[in-house]
């Protein structure tokens, strides 16, 4: 094996094993920052030794054992640390024997629990959202700070700072390395799901930069979601989120045109949807449903996405079911945006008049005052009802509100078409 081969192997092993190693170490040293440093030390040792000695048979266990030894060494040298982590010292000493003896099993036993603890501490509410995202991608996704910085288009030192501060906060506030118990669990889990979905959305509809999508971030989020689904299989919302992400990701290929322009859901070429991800998404949704509890917000959104995924053509979409699901969603998390989507579903299911009724009720909603999709949707309903003058005014208002040049063109086209009395095409903004 050449040195290049070895470096390739180390990089891959690190990507595969780092989360488990950091999680296992954090259980022992009770400090995520220290755990990561020891894991990094082991990585450096591998880079030094493996080109000479070859890649060990069980590289993950080798890295874990090396990191543990580093922790023990440091503890021995550093009396200060001993005082600070008196508990840790005794525990490490006791483990020293087994650390050497159990190389193969050391990372196997509690690994699920360790990873779960690492998930919860990375997404701890004590940290800012940016810090949670950065720490999660770093510790669980195995991304370098440079990769995180590039994904979020921020300078690398900014990400590095966020991670350092986050680790310091966790240490200073003595945040326990544990899986939260029942009364707290729901809120803590929802923080974890939020972080994962935020990472996904940053990839799916990039808020910054040239590209409209950054598929690598979607994949990172999906991977994290799938890991979490195996760690807490009894939580329906975890499967709901995974289902939602799998189904949304299934449309990646179809939602960007040859010139980089966004293609709306109903206009997409469904042959380009990824059937593998759709199947996985539907299976995840089924798992959420089988758990028997009432569907939560993620599972409901996944169920809506599934209605689209199941329809072979846009015309076959079960809009009645979608309208019902939006109604359930509106009850769980009332929001004018959900209502607007429900109006579109109602119009598709029962005709534009049904949608218009709901949209008219939204026109006084302050939070939608500058939201271009409201006049755009209202214009669409009015046009279908033959009220072309009112429709044109709405399309023009929507065009003035949107910040997207392509969308503005589209809306002005529709306004002109109203003036010319041409028939309207239905569009759904997604």
């Amino acid at each position: 094996m050449t040195v290049t081969d070895t470096h390739r192997a180390i990089e891959a092993v690190w990507r595969i094993e780092s989360a488990r190693i950091i999680a296992g170490l954090a259980r022992i040293v009770r400090d995520v920052g220290l755990a990561e440093e020891f894991a990094q030390d082991a990585l450096v040792a591998a880079l030094e030794q493996w080109p000479e000695s070859g890649v060990p048979d069980n590289p993950g266990a080798w890295l874990m054992a090396t990191a543990k030894h580093r922790a023990i060494d440091l503890w021995r040298r550093n009396k200060l640390l001993e005082r600070k982590h008196g508990e840790l010292g005794r525990e490490l000493e006791a483990q020293q024997e087994s650390a050497v003896a159990d190389l193969d099993t050391a990372i196997d036993d509690d690994i699920g629990d360790d990873l779960l603890r690492l998930v919860f501490i990375s997404c701890h509410p004590i940290l800012s959202t940016e810090a949670r995202v950065a720490l999660t991608l770093r510790l669980l996704g195995g991304l370098t700070t440079d990769e995180i910085a590039r994904a979020f288009l921020v300078p690398e030192p900014t990400v590095a700072q966020r991670i350092v501060r986050a680790k310091r906060t966790l240490a200073e506030k003595h945040v326990p390395f544990e899986v939260p118990r029942r009364p707290e669990l729901a809120a803590r889990l929802s923080s974890v799901l939020e972080v994962i979905y935020l990472i996904f959305n940053e990839g799916y509809s990039a808020t910054a930069g040239e590209d409209w999508m950054r598929p690598a971030l979607c994949e990172d989020a999906l991977r994290l979601g799938r890991i979490l689904a195996e760690l807490v299989p009894e939580e329906p919302e975890v499967h709901g989120l995974v289902a939602l992400m799998e189904i949304q990701a299934s449309r990646s290929r179809a939602r960007i045109g040859p010139l980089g322009e966004p293609i709306l859901l109903l206009d997409q070429d469904r042959a380009r949807w990824d059937q593998l991800l759709i199947r996985r998404g539907l299976a995840a949704l089924e798992r959420a449903e089988e758990l028997g509890a009432a569907l939560g917000p993620y599972a409901l959104q996944a169920a809506i996405a599934a209605c689209h995924a199941r329809a072979r053509t846009a015309g076959e979409t079960d809009w009645r079911r979608i309208a019902t699901l939006y109604e359930a969603l509106a009850q769980l998390m009332p929001s004018p945006i959900v209502e607007l989507n429900r109006a579109v579903a109602l119009a598709m299911a029962f005709g534009p008049a049904a949608g218009l009724e709901l949209v008219d009720a939204l026109t006084s909603e302050p939070s939608l005052k500058t939201y271009h999709l409201l006049p755009s949707v209202r214009g669409d309903f009015l046009a279908k009802l033959g009220r072309t003058d009112e429709a044109r005014a709405e399309f023009e208002r929507a065009a003035a509100l949107t910040r997207n040049a392509r969308e503005r063109e589209l809306l002005l086209d529709r306004a002109r078409a109203c003036a010319g009395g041409q028939p309207q095409l239905a569009r759904r903004f997604d």
Binding site: R15, R226, E230, G260, L276
Partner: protein, 124 residues
């Protein structure tokens, strides 16, 4: 990035040892838990397969068995990974299990990237 792993070997090598089956099951369980393996399957023998072939302007369906090929695809798995390096490491581990549990067996795992949206950048 998505990769397809194609496992190829001589078809008459017989059923794999129990230890290998168990080790492979453990490896794939880990890959599923890690969120990386998104599909996998073992393929039935080519003797019960059918080849639909276009040759010299003629399309014909030919049922197996066929004259024995040196290596056939016996199974596949689809992975979603960060890089090809990760795919190679995964395949090395998979083949290492064969070396350990099935003395004398020979074969290969071919790693083929499946194109995704990122491989067709918009023309701007």
């Amino acid at each position: 990035m998505r990769f397809m792993m194609l496992v190829k070997h001589a078809e008459n090598s017989g059923p794999p040892p129990k230890e290998l089956m168990e080790a492979m099951a453990k490896l794939s369980e880990e890959a599923v838990k890690a969120g990386t393996m998104v599909a996998s399957g073992g393929l039935a023998p080519t003797a019960v397969s059918t080849r639909v072939r276009l040759s010299r302007g003629q399309v014909a369906a030919i049922d197996g068995p066929f004259t024995e090929a040196k290596e056939v695809v016996g199974g596949y798995a689809v992975f979603e990974l960060k890089s090809k390096k990760e795919a190679i490491e995964g395949a090395l581990r998979f083949m290492e299990l064969h070396r350990k549990h099935w003395p004398g067996w020979e074969g290969e795992t071919e790693i083929r990237q499946i194109f995704g949206p990122e491989d067709f950048p918009p023309q701007r």
